[in-house]
Symmetry: C2
Subunit: 309 residues, 2 copies
């Protein structure tokens, strides 16, 4: 019996990140890295992905040390996926300086038998045909969410639409939602995406928080205002990881369960940006996370609402 | 005895507003218009401002109909302040097409004796030397907030700094905060402004909500996600009006009082953008406002916080 609650399929990478306060430097990256580390604080999480021969044992050990199941990480001949980017002065926009897909170019996710019955699945941003293939390998899924990006909306729209017909939720940002639906209003864009399949649409807005649209209504949460922001890389993935972990941990798929999952993801992501790469997630402990959750909930506790929900 | 709780000094204007869904059309505008209408749902509010001979009696009647004291509105020879602007497709950015100051160019606020002891004062965006002169006319102020803009930060910095030494709070947006402080991080910018005088700094972020920085900490609130957005004109002023009215109504200047005031302002502003000009604020009733307050509070009620605060 495998106790994995959440399976994450995505990239493992080395990023060369430059910010106004730090010259370019290499750090561990990839969507699966951030998602699984963020999720690891709540549930047993497994990763399916591919790395090259150059991937460091210490980086695998970092995942294992947080309880992440790495049995689905394949090592292939060639180089690990590498990405280089530079952030603007406000740490809001970033410019991609290079993308070297390496072994990720031939990535063909193989789900180990022991992981195929994980009830929760997160499909990190990659070719929607691969995301569809993963879905075909799973049995007994309870809830599945996917991430995507402009590239796939532009060049693989048909596959993406097939995918959307088979997932419970889509994570994307404002501009991707507009590109996908041609709707400029975020709520209308969310409803248009729901018409494509997902019952829940999660719009990520970086330092401004998120908006979630579903059949039960619409809600927004702010991000925590932070004085210390060093590196936004992986924040969206950390948000998704915390979100999925909370859902998988509570099993509560009700509107309140979804809302609380978004809040948990928001708080998890707030740690990610305070230092470079996944380091803050790796050193995060549950007491620190719980302390900031309480802070966040108190910040948003208003006198006109229902009580203790 | 005058029962005015909140005095608002600002502009009354006619705006020609163009959006992607509506050709340019004239509508009532001005900071004092939006602020006083927004505040009118909670407290007796008075306006000090100037209009030209062309200002319509019906527009004064609209204010009076909401209980606003217009005894401080002076009618001068000349034309009312006129502004023309065009919004982009997302209704986020706007381009100013013309500004005709008219009688506002010679605006010299005169505070009627009956209004000089109002305990709460909002200094709408105008020349900081005029804002300072208003302060000199007031007696017994309990709490005063000011708005400003890039123009004054650039050309009247010394006067603005004198003003900041004498107000409790400053309302401004992200880019104005950065211009004033040269700090790109919004929390750091808030602290830098606090060092100039105000104990509370309210950063307005449009559809993303607000961040408030004070000696008691930092909090953020999201805006309500709205499907129907027609015209953002006046939203920031409506937010400020609701904020000030809640503060004046409760008299609670504690951290929680400030936070609840920001929430009340957020909800008030959500009505403003749903239709053109101040019409939605003018037709808003207390039951509708209370209903959305409850919705907002429930949206933000998380299981990790304290209860019923």
């Amino acid at each position: 019996m495998n106790e994995t609650k959440l399976l994450v399929v995505g990239s493992l990478a080395y990023d060369q990140v430059e910010t106004p306060r730090r010259p370019a430097a290499w750090q561990l990256g990839g969507s699966a890295t951030f998602i699984s580390l963020a999720a690891s604080h709540l549930v047993r999480t497994a990763v399916v992905g591919v790395v090259g021969k150059d991937f460091k044992q210490a980086d695998l050990d970092l995942l294992v040390g947080k309880g992440v199941d790495i049995s689905g990480i394949e090592t292939a001949e060639g180089e690990t996926f590498k990405w280089g980017g530079r952030y603007d002065a406000q740490l809001k926009e970033r410019e991609t300086l290079f993308t070297e897909l390496g072994v990720f170019a031939q990535f063909s996710p193989k789900i180990p038998a022991a992981l195929a019955d994980a009830p929760y699945l997160f499909l990190g941003n990659c070719d929607p045909d691969l995301q569809l293939a993963v879905l075909d390998s799973m049995k007994g899924l309870r809830w599945v969410a996917a991430d995507t990006m402009n590239l796939w909306i532009n060049i693989k729209r048909e596959s993406l639409l097939r995918l959307l017909g088979r997932v419970n939720a889509l994570f994307l940002n404002d501009s991707e939602a507009e590109l996908l639906t041609n709707e400029k209003n975020v709520v209308k864009a969310g409803h248009a995406i729901m018409a494509m399949g997902p019952s829940t649409v999660i719009i990520k807005r970086g330092e401004y928080g998120c908006v979630v649209i579903s059949g039960d209504g619409v809600f927004a949460l702010p991000a925590l205002p932070l004085e210390q922001v060093e590196d936004p890389t992986g924040a969206g993935d950390s948000f998704a990881g915390g979100f999925m972990a909370h859902l998988a941990s509570t099993g509560d798929l009700s509107p309140l369960g979804i809302r609380n999952a978004a809040a948990f993801g928001t708080v998890t992501a707030s740690f990610c940006v305070e230092d470079f790469g996944p380091a803050p997630l790796a050193r995060l402990d549950r007491a620190t996370l719980d302390g900031r959750l309480k802070l966040f909930a108190n910040m948003l506790s208003l006198p006109w609402g229902g009580c203790c929900r």
